[in-house]
């Protein structure tokens, strides 16, 4: 029983990470109809910048928690600026182009960011210091570390904060209007460019924190860590209903649980025929099945009407 509990915990932690990153994907897709492939890389840049600042502060004698706050204070605005720049430079000129153009551009931006990071920080795997306590606590025979608890709680908080932002503030109302119909929103006095930039900024800020949380949890940062994470997070967003904030959260958690339970039990269930190296396969099979029977995702999609 405690194994099942442990696998569930593993799944929820993994899922919370996916959910946090998925929020960035789902917001951008909801408003622009664009899959921002570069988002995974922004997450990675957040982790890398934080590590760089921590290394700079290493000899300063400040407590680790303060160092983390300072590093985040540098990394979050950096990623926000990065997100806004990407939008301005790579996506805005293609606002009226056929859908394929910004998609390919997004892939290009993703590659450029990866290799910019290689130029600055090198290709190796960087060990991550223990910025959050990772000594596990025992709960009913299963183990969870404070860092993992923070990941889960923070993701939930962020989703709540985003939902509040979108439904109870002026900016949120502008975002919903733009998501529904950008042309009419513009006619109603919404500064659509500003709204889109803010979407990228918020998504990137969250992405930066997600990057740090992931790196602390696994104690490693690498220039390619954003790629698979981004792909899975996007899958989670689609699973829950693209454009739907709550959907991103549900999709993320579900994906994490499927992966953890799948790779943990499939070996036993199939008598060793399919091993845990098929864990990515389960996630994508579930996605295919859900989309066949419910094409708009579990909670329904919300994308801009493009007349």
């Amino acid at each position: 029983m405690e194994t099942l509990l442990q696998q569930l915990i593993n799944g929820i932690v993994l899922g919370s990470v996916y959910a946090l990153v998925a929020l960035g994907y789902t917001m951008v897709y909801g408003i622009l109809g664009l899959i921002n492939f570069a988002h995974g890389e922004v997450v990675m840049v957040g982790a890398m910048v934080t590590l760089a600042v921590i290394k700079l502060l290493a000899g300063s004698g400040l407590p680790l928690a303060v160092q983390l706050l300072i590093a985040l204070g540098v990394a979050i605005p950096a990623c926000m600026a990065l997100g806004a720049t990407i939008e301005r430079v790579a996506y805005r000129p293609l606002r009226n182009a056929p859908r394929l153009a910004p998609l390919i551009t997004a892939i290009g931006v993703s590659i450029v960011l990866q290799y910019l990071v290689v130029l600055i920080w090198g290709r190796g795997y960087h060990p991550y210091p223990e910025l959050l306590p990772t000594t596990p606590i025992d709960i009913a025979g299963a183990r969870i570390s404070p860092a993992q608890i923070i990941i889960v709680v923070f993701s939930a908080l962020m989703m709540g904060a985003l939902l509040w932002l979108v439904h109870h503030t002026r900016l949120g109302r502008a975002m919903r209007a733009t998501a529904e119909n950008p042309a009419v929103a513009r006619l109603m006095g919404v500064n659509v460019n500003h709204v889109i930039t803010m979407t990228f900024v918020i998504g990137s800020g969250l992405g930066a924190i997600a990057g740090v949380l992931v790196s602390v949890n696994y104690s490693v940062a690498h220039y390619q860590m954003g790629f698979m994470l981004g792909l899975k997070a996007f899958t989670a967003a689609v699973l829950g209903g693209i454009g739907n904030l709550a959907g991103a959260m549900v999709g993320g958690l579900l994906l994490g649980l499927i992966e953890a339970l799948g790779s943990g039990y499939v070996g036993d269930l199939t008598g060793g025929v399919f091993g845990s190296n098929y864990r990515d396969v389960f996630a994508f099979i579930v996605l295919i099945v859900v989309l066949i029977f419910r094409p708009s995702g579990l909670l329904g999609e919300r994308v801009a009407e493009r007349a």
Binding site: Q6, Q7, V13, G124, P136, Y218, G275, S276, N277
Partner: protein, 402 residues
């Protein structure tokens, strides 16, 4: 008075300019490469194929540096082969630890008319690339591929300066059974030719000795979340976990083993026996066991001298395979001297008979290209350092105690 503001270039003007400058840049780049090839008729190119980017760049760089050092020292010796002074040049290519890229790299090296190739590192890359080299008759010496299949394909051009997994697996098994006295194990591999091969060799050996294999899980060489697999293994309570894979994953794996309170040690092969693993896993690495083909770095005949030379030249410590790259180059030079020629076919003939005392020990190849009598050393992490505890002389693998 209105200043004349120059009109921005039209769309058509912009694209033709862009086209022109791109073409110009390509021509210049192409010219640059050709110039390098045409200077010096006596420049002998030796190819290097290693994972310089991707999942194991520190190992690739280590091999490149070791080989580079060898080339520089050979050039300093001013060798004369076939009556002409020769100068060696290293042509280093990156195979990204990706089997598909490896064959592309191999073709590129062959087309560049290298005399021999030191590479690749990953068995999963050496094996497909060996076909390309074999068809071109270019000798290939691997500084680190331990996958057995590499030398069993029937090619005359495959060599390696390390023991293979058919020796490494049983050696690790013997240590586990005789010294660690394990009765049941769990095995994880990274689904690569190397990881699966090594884990398979280990599994066969321990099963033959009556040890219970509780689980054989798989991951990929890009994953770093092992919580699900480790949780499943924890449930089965093994005495030891064997991991066929590389240090970049063993590091996070060790941390997760500690986090899950799995009270077993991890054992692996040469892929995990690096300083990078210690940096990555910190104190979670304590007690980890690893087998490596070859003698401990400082027990190698030329070890300490090499370590110091390397540190002085490159400013970093040797990871593990740099001495093998270094020796590979010297072995090639020795074969060239004996053949008194730099033609690949003649060098190949001499390589089969060569006997050379390298930094890593005496080097001679058997009829398949495997290293004769390659020793295997078992290392354990004690007090945050890799400490060699046992050396098993190659060829004779100790029979596991029943």
């Amino acid at each position: 008075m209105v200043a004349h503001i120059p009109e921005p270039p039209s769309m058509k003007q912009r694209s033709s300019f862009l086209l022109f400058s791109t073409a110009l840049a390509l021509i210049v780049a192409g010219c640059g490469k050709q110039e390098a090839a045409s200077t010096g008729g006596d420049t002998i190119k030796i190819g290097l194929a290693a994972p310089l980017t991707g999942t194991q760049p520190h190992i690739g760089l280590d091999i490149k540096n070791g080989t580079q050092l060898g080339i520089e020292e050979l050039n300093a010796q001013g060798l004369e082969i076939g009556g002409k002074k020769v100068k060696f040049e290293l042509m280093a290519e990156d195979d990204e630890a990706n089997p598909a890229k490896a064959t592309t790299v191999a073709q590129k090296l062959v087309d560049a008319k290298v005399v021999a190739v030191v590479g690749h590192f990953n068995s999963g890359c050496s094996i497909p690339a060996s076909k390309v080299y074999a068809e071109a008759g270019i000798p290939q010496i691997s500084p680190g591929s331990t996958g057995v299949r590499y030398t069993q394909q029937g090619y005359a051009t495959t060599f390696r300066v390390v023991a293979n997994d058919d020796q490494q697996g049983p050696a690790g098994a013997a240590y586990a059974i005789n010294t660690l006295k394990v009765k049941n194990v769990a095995i994880i591999d990274d689904s690569t030719a190397y990881g699966q091969g090594l884990a398979g060799a280990f599994e066969k050996s321990v099963q033959a000795a009556g040890v219970n294999v509780l689980a054989h899980e798989h991951t990929t060489d890009k994953d770093y979340d092992f919580a699900a697999i480790l949780t499943s293994i924890k449930d089965k309570k093994p005495d030891l976990i064997f991991f066929g894979g590389i240090d970049t994953q063993a590091g996070p794996m060790l941390k997760q083993i500690k986090a899950l309170d799995l009270k077993t040690h991890l054992m692996g092969g040469d892929g995990i026996q690096t300083p990078a693993l210690l940096a990555q896993a910190g104190d979670a690495a304590e007690g980890t066991v690893a087998s490596i083909p070859g003698l401990p770095k400082d027990k190698m005949p030329g070890g300490t001298v090499f370590l110091n030379k390397f540190k002085k030249r490159f400013g970093v410590e040797v990871e593990l395979f740099a001495p093998m790259g270094y020796d590979a180059v010297f072995v090639l030079a020795e074969a060239m001297k004996k053949a008194n020629s730099t033609e690949p076919a003649k060098v190949l003939a001499e390589l089969k008979k060569v006997q050379f005392n390298g930094v890593t020990g005496p080097i001679a190849f058997d009829d398949k290209g495997d290293l004769k009598n390659g020793p295997i050393t078992i290392n354990v992490v004690k007090g945050g350092k890799w400490v060699p505890v046992e050396t098993i002389n190659g060829g004779a693998t100790p029979a596991p105690a029943k």
